[in-house]
């Protein structure tokens, strides 16, 4: 290898708006220009290091790790990692800088001294410490470089030369060369690449505008002076530095010195404090043994063998500590009555089942252990824990930080990247478009993405009113394409909360999260998985919170104790409800699409629910698996298999592949994949990142199949099933744990309706339906609701038993505009005796503001105060309320209100219902449609419940309140609307053409009158709309 040029000071887009290329792009271009080695130094972080490491390994070039450290004065010191201690120090240095409170965040000289060992520093480019010092003269610069040499040691500092054909920079280069000669330090050439190709300079200019919140016109000197900061091959660099040939050779020499790679970042698995006389694996064995005996009654041989195999593997890999920690978390939740359930790949492990982490017996379901843990692939397990969302989950996280925070627990980062609309808006603003053009452009984006982009763009532009002659419009689309998937900033991990364990701060830098007291890694979930860092994903699940509340209400109101783990399995009432698709409020199966398939599938056993949960997913729909399964389920189609020896795998799902595990098994059987290869296939398709990996695995799949004689159309159908599937396929273990929750929620809804609905209403917003619909549905099932009443209601909805009939008392939380603090004050004031009059009520609860009392009065919550005269209406309350808050002054204070009886007329029923909706978003009085039923009946409008009596193909007119509007991507433009009236819900199907004709009424109108044709196929009733009108 001749003395080729290594680019050792590049910058990727992970410097957040300071670099324009992703690590993958930089490595692939470097490989093309046969640059043998590359170092990406991002600002104060190693966010892109894992992706860079993987991409470099594939491209076959040396990946050096390092960063640009911001110093106190604002200068940027580039440092490279020489060995393991260097990497540890780099992570600690960045962590110290990031965690230091206060605005002036930058490394002090003392920081550098503490963490300098194992690191090599460069004097930096125009923004480096040397250049900053040079502004006040050559001597100053000399002093700075001397100080750096003193900190890092003369053998670990290089004077960096960069040439971008700029006079000021040439002056800096000459000065640095002079200093290097005076201090006898080696010179190093680099091109400070901020983007891979010269054409990407435009994108960098845009990002600079976004960073400085300005646009191209006003950015002025912030923009790049020219397009020279791209990756340059050896030929160009050698010619550029022909006066300092040594500087080019130095890059090869320095690259050979940097032997650290991210293959082994020095991560050690977490320890778990084990009682005396035990090591972690022996303790794990004991606990698992105990758990298994409790789970498996009888503890049959198959389970014992499976558990032993798993435990040996876990011990061999040294991950006992990890399992013990997860076990500890689950125990903590159990002790504090917090519902917890493991899911994801963990559900395939018998050990997890025995430890009580997961609730699905993998041995019984014959699940695939390789999915969870396979030594061959070096893929570490990924355990997801479902917790009730809200403050319960926060409690677990707080406890987790307090117990494991010191020794190493942190959340993974959530890198927000440029996607669709956000990219279009920001690029448009940077290009200086006015608001109207901007909105037209972003609307074009949706059209653009929906249709095939190769279609001629000119027509799109013309009808969006944009002219292509304006150069900025042409630039806009190129920049938009280039900006996709570029990281923009670090966001707070929204959904789940992934905690990593082990000595973290020496493996990856940490920085404070937006939530106080929380710490975030600089790598996201997938990076951690790649780097083999053990993590647990804590996901908040609304339904868990509902189940938990329901159980506590049952315990207090019904005096019974219900254990979710041991619900009676095949309860006939529950399955009857499911079969009739009476599932509003039930977990996972309440959506319109589910309701349409439930009557067809006629679920009878638990496994049917598992299938039901998995079937309405993009995977099966795209893979065209849904209809064959339904037909076979109803016996309209014979059960046959893609290939004879797939029979054992697909027997349970009538020959139709629905689950990911089945898919992996199919690959193993048809193409002879091993467990590890199958998992690799799943990861390849599961990954959203790279195209080539998919083609690579697909080729391997086809090769395996042709070897086994599966060829031609049959092979294509199998491959098509697998590819479309792996992307969205739902893991069976996952579906099983969800099915458990679905069954539990259906069971509780059926047997304890009051408790379930109260809990459901306390955890809104959740699921598909608005509280108003849930209340109406419950009332149709005979559940009585009692209105909000200041003398009785709590903040939450509660259950009241009146002569052994249970009814739900609406909570104060449903008064719009009423703060929780004020509501709690009402409840407290109530303890010292009931309120005797509105005036006394407002005096005893000073925290309430005037508007809050007015809302209470208008919602009728004050009507039931004892002191009121009989027949006291809301208007009387309003009349009195106005007087309360007027500062009438002491003189008039005790003047009794001569106007006690209000001169106002009381509300009509319609006004009362409107007030309900206005102030509480729901009503327990009659459904608004009921009021106009007489008038509607005259013009032939049918009630939802009567639809059953109509034959398929008959014309019918239906009306109602729009409660759900869906336009699923997979339904090729069809729109599904649910209309609710006082008797039930009718499903309306709207063809794309009809939708375009009535677009405005359908989108912004909430009350619709629909004429259409009834479709009544095997108990599923819907109306195919032909005409739309307004109510």
């Amino acid at each position: 290898m001749t003395d080729l040029f290594f680019e050792l000071h590049a910058r990727s887009a992970f410097s957040f708006l300071e670099g324009a290329s992703t690590p993958e792009e930089l490595t692939s271009v470097a490989a093309e220009l046969d640059i043998p080695g590359l170092a990406i130094l991002d600002r104060d972080g190693v966010y892109g290091a894992p992706r860079f490491h993987i991409a470099a390994r594939e491209a076959g070039i040396r990946a050096h790790i390092g960063a640009e450290i911001t110093l106190q004065g604002g200068a940027r010191l580039p440092v490279l990692v020489e060995n393991k201690t260097g990497y540890k120090n780099l992570c600690r240095l960045i962590t110290t800088i990031r965690m230091r409170p206060g605005p002036q965040r930058g490394a002090t000289e003392e920081d550098l001294r503490r963490f300098s060992s194992g690191l090599i520093c460069l004097t930096g480019d125009q923004n480096g410490p040397a250049a900053h010092a040079l502004r006040n003269g050559f001597e100053e610069a000399l002093k700075t470089v001397n100080m750096l040499a003193d900190i890092f040691g003369p053998d670990r500092i290089y004077c960096e030369l960069q040439r971008h054909f700029d006079r000021d920079e040439e002056y800096h280069t000459q000065a640095i060369a002079g200093i290097a000669e005076k201090l006898k330090l080696p010179l190093l050439a680099s091109n400070g690449a901020c983007y891979a190709l010269a054409s990407e300079r435009k994108l960098l200019d845009i990002l600079t505008c976004v960073r400085n919140r300005t646009n191209l016109q006003q950015a002025g000197r912030l923009l790049c002076r020219n397009s020279e900061r791209h990756l340059k091959p050896h030929r160009l660099m050698e010619q550029l530095f022909r006066d300092y040939p040594g500087a080019i050779a130095a890059t090869r020499e320095l690259s050979s010195r940097l032997e650290f790679t991210l293959d082994d970042p020095g991560y050690r698995f977490p320890e778990y404090p084990v009682p005396a006389g035990e090591n972690m694996s022996s303790y794990l064995r004991k606990v698992t043994e105990e758990g298994a005996r409790h789970r498996y009654r009888p503890f049959h041989e198959k389970a014992r063998r499976q558990i032993k195999r798993e435990l040996d593997l876990i011990e061999k890999l040294g991950m006992a500590g990890y399992f013990l920690i997860v076990w500890d978390i689950v125990n903590f939740c159990r002790e504090h009555g917090i519902l917890v359930q493991g899911r994801g790949s963990a559900a395939n492990s018998a050990v997890c089942y025995s430890l009580g982490i997961t609730a699905v017996d993998p041995v019984g379901m014959d699940l695939l252990f390789e999915r969870f843990l396979s030594e061959e692939r070096g893929e570490w397990p990924d355990i997801d824990l479902d917790l009730p969302s809200g403050e319960q989950r926060e409690r677990v996280i707080k406890w987790l930080y307090s117990k494991y925070g010191k020794s190493g627990a942190a959340m993974t980062a959530n890198v927000i990247t440029y996607r669709g609309r956000s990219a279009a808006r920001e690029i448009g603003k940077a290009l200086g478009f006015d608001l109207s053009t901007l909105s037209r452009l972003s609307s074009l984006i949706n059209v653009w993405e929906w249709k095939d982009p190769k279609e001629n763009a000119a027509r799109h532009f013309a009808d969006a009113g944009l002219d292509l002659k304006d150069p900025r419009i042409k630039e806009f689309f190129q920049l938009y394409q280039a900006a996709q998937d570029l990281p923009r900033h670090l966001g707070q991990h929204s959904g789940g909360m992934v905690i990593c364990f082990g000595q973290l701060d020496s493996v990856v830098p940490l920085q404070p999260a937006s939530m106080p007291g929380r710490v975030v890694l600089q790598w996201d979930k997938d990076d951690c998985a790649e780097m083999g860092i053990l993590k647990v994903d804590l996901l908040g699940l609304g339904m868990m919170a509902v189940l938990e509340d329901t159980l506590s209400i049952i315990r207090s109101e019904y005096g019974e104790e219900v254990d979710l783990a041991h619900l009676p399995q095949d309860d006939p009432a529950v399955y009857k409800g499911l079969r009739q698709a009476d599932t509003i409020g039930v977990f996972q199966v309440e959506s319109r699409a589910q309701m349409a398939t439930l009557p067809r599938i006629q679920p009878g056993t638990f496994y049917d629910i598992v299938v039901q949960v998995a079937i309405i997913r993009p995977g099966p729909i795209v893979g065209k698996m849904v209809h064959p399964y339904l037909k076979r389920r109803q016996g309209k189609e014979p059960v046959e298999y893609l290939h004879p020896d797939l029979e054992p795998v697909l027997k349970r799902t009538l020959g139709v592949p629905l689950f990911q595990e089945q898919l992996l098994r199919m690959a193993m059987i048809c193409a002879g994949f091993s467990g590890g290869e199958a998992e690799e296939l799943r990861r390849a398709f599961g990954f959203k990142r790279s195209e080539q990996r998919m083609q690579h695995v697909e080729k391997k799949l086809r090769k395996g199949m042709t070897k086994r004689g599966i060829v031609g159309k049959q092979q294509d159908r199998i491959v098509q099933a697998i590819t479309s599937f792996a992307l969205y396929g739902f893991p069976e273990s996952h579906a099983a744990s969800f099915a458990l929750l679905a069954y539990a929620s259906a069971y509780l809804r059926c047997h304890y309706p009051a408790a379930f609905h109260a809990a459901l209403l306390n955890n809104q917003p959740m699921g598909f339906y608005h509280p108003a619909t849930i209340v109406k549905d419950a009332q149709r099932h005979g559940l009585r609701f009692r209105p909000i009443d200041v003398s009785v209601s709590d903040w939450d909805c509660t259950v009241e038993s009146v002569e052994d009939k249970k009814s739900v008392r609406l909570g104060l939380r449903y008064i719009k505009g009423l703060r929780e603090k004020a509501a709690r004050a009402i409840v407290e004031a109530r303890q010292s005796g009931p309120f005797r009059s509105i005036e006394e009520f407002s005096r005893r609860v000073p925290a309430l503001s005037k508007s809050e009392i007015a809302s209470l009065a208008a919602a009728g919550a004050l009507n039931f105060i004892e002191g009121n005269s009989p027949g006291f209406t809301r208007r009387d309350a309003l009349w009195q309320v106005e007087r309360l808050k007027r500062p009438a002054g002491e003189l008039l204070q005790n003047l009794d209100d001569s106007m006690a009886v209000s001169p106002l007329k009381s509300m009509t029923e319609e006004e009362r219902i409107n007030a309900d909706f206005h102030y509480t978003d729901l009503t327990i009085a009659r459904h608004p449609m009921a009021l106009r039923r007489a008038e509607l009946a005259r013009n032939g409008t049918v009630r939802a419940v009567d639809l059953k009596s109509f034959r398929n193909g008959e014309n019918v007119r239906v009306a109602g309140h729009v409660i759900a509007r869906q336009r699923p991507g997979t339904a090729k433009g069809f729109v599904f609307i649910s209309l609710e009236d006082e008797t039930g819900i009718s499903n309306i199907i709207i063809t794309p053409s009809l939708f375009d004709r009535h677009r405005s009424e359908l989108i912004n109108n909430r009350w619709l009158l629909v004429d259409g044709i009834v479709q009544n196929a095997d108990r599923v009733i819907s109306v195919k709309a032909t005409e739309i009108g307004l109510l």
Partner: protein, 443 residues
């Protein structure tokens, strides 16, 4: 009795025309809101005829003049205002029957101006009334006043009075501000500039005297003339600091219309001086005597005539990488107190030679050897001296490019050269047009 005239289509009807139209019927005119006027008709029966059919007559008259209006006559201005705005057509309300007419007007129609409260407060009160089921004037009037005052306070009571139409107030007549402007239709039209100047000088003398009487100075002037052939000629000038002397103003006016040669005789002329306060600058004992604003203004105008308007002023460096980022802004002696904003990042410590620009750049022919310039020769250089000679020393190339997003896109490769004829200069190769230019001399 009061009459309110309300312009129905607000956007295109000219409000001043409405006021002028109304003032023909009564001297006391109040401009209420942007779209209506209220007149006090007391004692105008003889002139306008009986009040009962006055609204009808007003509406017909207005239609003839192309204004769509509605009128209402009532015992008090507020009732008339609400009637004109709310009711479908013009109406006469006998005193005492206001409640009948206004009964079913919606509560939202109450104007916050009349009730003398903010729009938000009015909205609040209307909200409360709606929650009480009260939506029109009638029921509101019927509510017990003491209940209203306890609940809605004094504003509530005022609103109730408005609803009853029983308020009692007089109208507020608007007065116009002083305008320093003279305009005249010339009996015998003026055809030459000199005579026009004489006329304008006369106006100028009167106007400056008028300004002096108000202790004001001229901050700028507007000249407008209409010619016989229908064309117009107008000039508008703003001075950085107001000027008092008649002579200076006359000179500036003269310079200003120097270029004006009327194609046909001028029939109508208007001259207006915008008033402005004179600015006294207390020059310190030791501060150097800055050029007086008055004289400078005159000199700048004179030189502007010679070299062209955009060519005189103080230079300003724009924040851009552009090769010649220079702009000329108005020379203002007052700016001595404002810090120069444009000293953005400090110029680099690099020693830089003084530069003289060549605007526009001089086309040159450049011979290259091993991709460095070796000979430079200017072709024609007009009034400016050209350069030619072998390159003794060369530095570069220096690349700059920018504004890739607009038509102002540039991309150039610059060289600093020392030539055998003694010149040290900067030549650049415009990579878009592939031509060489000389744009600076290091001197």
């Amino acid at each position: 009795m009061f009459c309110c005239i309300y312009a129905i289509d607000k956007d295109n009807s000219d409000y001043q025309a409405l006021v002028a139209f109304a003032s023909r019927f009564s001297p006391l005119v109040e401009e209420t809101g942007g779209d209506s006027v209220v007149l006090d008709l007391e004692g105008t029966e003889l002139l306008n005829g009986p009040f009962t059919d006055f609204p009808g007559r007003i509406t017909r008259l207005a239609e003839r003049e192309g204004m769509a209006v509605r009128a209402a006559v009532a015992a008090n201005p507020d009732a008339a205002f609400h009637a004109a705005h709310g009711l479908p057509e013009s109406v006469f309300i006998e005193p005492g029957k206001e409640a009948e007419y206004l009964g079913d007007l919606p509560v939202e129609n109450i104007s916050h101006l009349l009730a003398d409260i903010t729009v938000e407060r009015l909205g609040e009160i209307v909200g409360t009334l709606n929650s009480w089921g009260i939506s029109t004037f009638g029921p509101l009037a019927a509510l017990p006043t003491t209940g209203i005052s306890e609940r809605l306070g004094p504003e509530g009571v005022r609103i109730q009075q408005l609803a009853k139409g029983k308020t009692r107030r007089s109208i507020i007549v608007k007065s116009t501000g002083a305008v320093f402007s003279l305009s005249e239709r010339l009996e015998h039209p003026v055809s030459s500039r000199e005579t026009l100047l004489l006329v304008l000088a006369g106006y100028l003398e009167k106007l400056t005297a008028y300004l002096k009487a108000h202790h004001l100075a001229a901050a700028g002037f507007e000249l407008e003339t209409r010619l016989a052939d229908g064309s117009t000629y107008a000039r508008k000038i703003q001075f950085p600091s107001p000027i008092k002397e008649y002579r200076t103003l006359k000179k500036i006016l003269e310079l200003e219309i120097e270029g004006f040669s009327p194609s046909s005789p001028v029939t109508w002329v208007r001259l207006e001086l915008n008033p402005g306060k004179t600015r006294m600058i207390q020059s310190g004992l030791f501060t150097p005597d800055t050029p007086e604003p008055e004289k400078t203004e005159l000199v700048l105008a004179r030189i502007g005539k010679i070299v062209g308007q955009g060519k005189i002023g103080s230079p300003e460096v724009e924040n851009s990488h552009r090769p010649d980022p220079v702009r000329i802004k108005r020379f203002d002696t007052g700016s001595v107190f404002r810090k120069n904003r444009h000293m953005d990042q400090s110029p680099s410590a690099r020693k830089q030679p003084a530069t003289r620009k060549l605007r526009p750049p001089l086309a040159v022919m450049v011979w290259m050897g091993e991709n460095r310039p070796i000979r430079v020769q200017t072709t024609d250089s007009g009034i400016r001296k050209g350069v030619s000679g072998k390159v003794l020393v060369s530095a570069g190339p220096w690349l700059t490019s920018g504004e890739w997003w607009s038509k102002g896109k540039w991309e150039r490769e610059e060289w600093d050269l020392q030539l055998s004829d003694g010149t040290i200069c900067r030549v650049y190769h415009d990579l878009q047009s592939n031509r060489w230019y000389l744009d600076a001399i290091y001197d």
